[in-house]
Assembly symmetry: C2
Homo-oligomer: 341 residues x 2
Amino acid sequence: MNIRHIAKQAGVSVATVSRVLNHPENVAPKTREKIEKIIAETEYTPNWFARGLNFNKTGTIGLMIPHILNSVHMEIAKGVEDVAHQKEYIALMCNVEHDAAKEKRYLDQLIKRRVDGIIFICSSLEKKDFQLVQEQKIPVVLIGEHKNSLGLHVVSIDCKQSAKKAVNHLLESGHEKIAMLYGTEPQIENEYKMAGYKQALKEAELPFVRDYLREVENTIEGGYLGAKKLAELADPPRAIFASSDYIAFGAMDAIKDKGLKIPDDMAVMGFDNVRMSNLVEPKLTTVEVPLHKMGVYGARLLFDIIEGEEEPETEPKTILLQSKLKIRKSSGHKERIGEMF
Amino acid sequence: MNIRHIAKQAGVSVATVSRVLNHPENVAPKTREKIEKIIAETEYTPNWFARGLNFNKTGTIGLMIPHILNSVHMEIAKGVEDVAHQKEYIALMCNVEHDAAKEKRYLDQLIKRRVDGIIFICSSLEKKDFQLVQEQKIPVVLIGEHKNSLGLHVVSIDCKQSAKKAVNHLLESGHEKIAMLYGTEPQIENEYKMAGYKQALKEAELPFVRDYLREVENTIEGGYLGAKKLAELADPPRAIFASSDYIAFGAMDAIKDKGLKIPDDMAVMGFDNVRMSNLVEPKLTTVEVPLHKMGVYGARLLFDIIEGEEEPETEPKTILLQSKLKIRKSSGHKERIGEMF
DNA sequence: CTGAAAGCGCTAACAG
DNA sequence: CTGTTAGCGCTTTCAG
C-alpha cells in the first residue's frame, strides 16, 4: 500500500496525495477531502524510510543511559521521555552499562540512524567522541557533570558542593570520623563528590584518613562490601558518606550484619534520594537530586536547539539545578527535626 | 558524503561500492581493498533510510514497557536488551505508563518505523490491536500473561499458581485472616493472582472476606494506603499478600506507622523478589520471578521468528517459567529456615 | 490548483 | 568481476 495506490484510487497524481499529506492548504478542499477519506479508509501511512530519505529528519532522539536498572538514571530518562513523547518524538534509549565501548557502539548506531539529537546521561565518552557527533551537526545535551563538556550544553547539579553540604551535615551532627564510599561509576561525578568530601574535612580542619576513602561498585553489593571493610578497620569511622543511595543501602545492611546500630554506632548518609530511601530502617538521610527535572530541562534544551530556537552557534549553556539535604534518622542528627528544608 | 562520492574517488561504479558493503565476496580483492580504504578514511556510512527503503529491514525491535520506573519491568527489559544488543539489534524501548492509549500510539509508531519485531511486556492492548500488528506480518512476543494472547507467542510464569503458593505459605505459617492487596496494573496478571488467592483460601476452607481484598495502585504509595485501610478494619487481617513487592513495601511502612509489629501483629508477603526486598526490615518474604530470564527467553523467541528459524505459521509457543518462594522474616514462618528453596 | 518528472541514496538484476 | 540502470516510496520544483 503506497502513495501510488492512493493516487490511483482517488484519480489524482501522487503529487497531489503528497500535498494533502504535507501542505494540505495547497489543495482544493474537494479533492483534499476525497483523498483524506481514502487515506483513512485504507489506513495508509507513508513509508517512513522514503520520508526520511527526503527530509533527513527522523522524529527520534537518542538517549544514553548508564544503566537501565539504576532508578537514578531512569528517573532522569523518564523526564526526557516525558517531554519527547509530548513533542511526538520517540527516544531511543540506549543501555550503556557504564561501558565506554558499548556507549560508543550505540553512538555509531545513533549517528547512522540520523537521530535529530542526543542526550547523554553521565556519559563516559571522551571529548573526541563528542566531536564526532558535533561534526555531524547533531545537537547534543549532557546531563550530569562531565570533564569534557567544554562546548557542550550541560544540565546538572553541582556534585562537589552537594557532597560538601552532605559531609558538613555529618560534621554538624557531631561526627568527626567520617568515611566515604564512592562508586566507580559514574566516574566523573564521583570524583567531584570526593573533592567535596575532602574539602569539607579540610575546612573543618580534620585530618584526611586514607583508609576512610574507599572506591566500590555503585551497587548495593558494593556498598555492603565497602562498609564491611570500614567496620573492620582497627579504628573504624563513626559515619559513612556514600556517593549514592544504593551504596548507602548496602552499607546499612553490612553495618547491621556487624551488629552495630545506625546511627548510634555508625551514621550513614546517602545521595540521590531515591524512593526507597525513606523505607529502609532507619530512614536514610540523603541529598535530594532533582532527577526528573534534570531530564525535563535537558530535553527542553535539546528540542530548543533542534527546533532552531537556539542558534546553533550560540554559547553552550550550563544549567545548574539545586540539590537539597533530606535529613532523616540515619545520620543521627541531634535534634529530631524530621525532614529539614 | 554518499556512495557516489566514494565511487568517484575509487574510480569505480556505485554498484561496486554497494557490493563491497553487502557482498564483498563478489568483488576482486584489489578493488575491494581500495574501496574499503576510502570508506574507512572518509568514515562513510551508508544512508540508513535509503537502505531501509530497499531492504525493509531495520535492525530494530520494539519493546513495550509498562513503566520504566518500575524495576520489575526494567529487569525484563534488560534481558531483552541483552540479547538484542548481542545480536546487534537496537531495541526501541517505549514507556507505556500502563496507558493503553499511549501504548497504542507507540505501537503505531513502531509499525510506521517498520520494526522487525515487537515484544510486549504486560501489555494492556486488546486483541484487535495485536491483529493490526499481525496483519503487517511483524513478529510479536508477549511477556507476561494476557487474556488475548491466543495466537501469540508468550513467555510468562503462572501467576495464579504462584499466588496460590504464596498464600499457602501464609496458611502454613499459621495465618488464617489473610488479606490481599492487588495492583490496578498490570491488570490481567493481577486478576490471575487474585484467582490464586481465592482458590488457596477455598481449598483451605476459609471464608472469603470481601473487606480483605483491596485494589490499590501498584506503587509503594498504593500499598501504604491499602494496608492502612486494612489495619483500620474492625476485624483486621493478620497477614497481607501483596501482588508486588512495591505494594508490600508500602504496606510494611503503613503497618509500622500504625505501631504494629511485622510479622507478629501482621505478616506481609510480596511478589517479584526485587533487589530491595531483603534490605527492608524485616526482610520480605516473596515470590521470586525470573524476570531477566523472561526477557532473555522472550527475545530469543522473537529473534528465532525474525530470522526465520521458526516458521511463521507454526503453532504459537507458550513458555512457562518457574517461580519460587523466597521465605524470609516478614511472613512469620514458624521455624527459622532462612531462604528456603 | 494539479500533474509530470527529477531526485533523495542505495540495492540488485542484467549485461557485458 | 564490474558497470548500467531500474526501481524502493516519497517530496518538490516547474509547468501548465
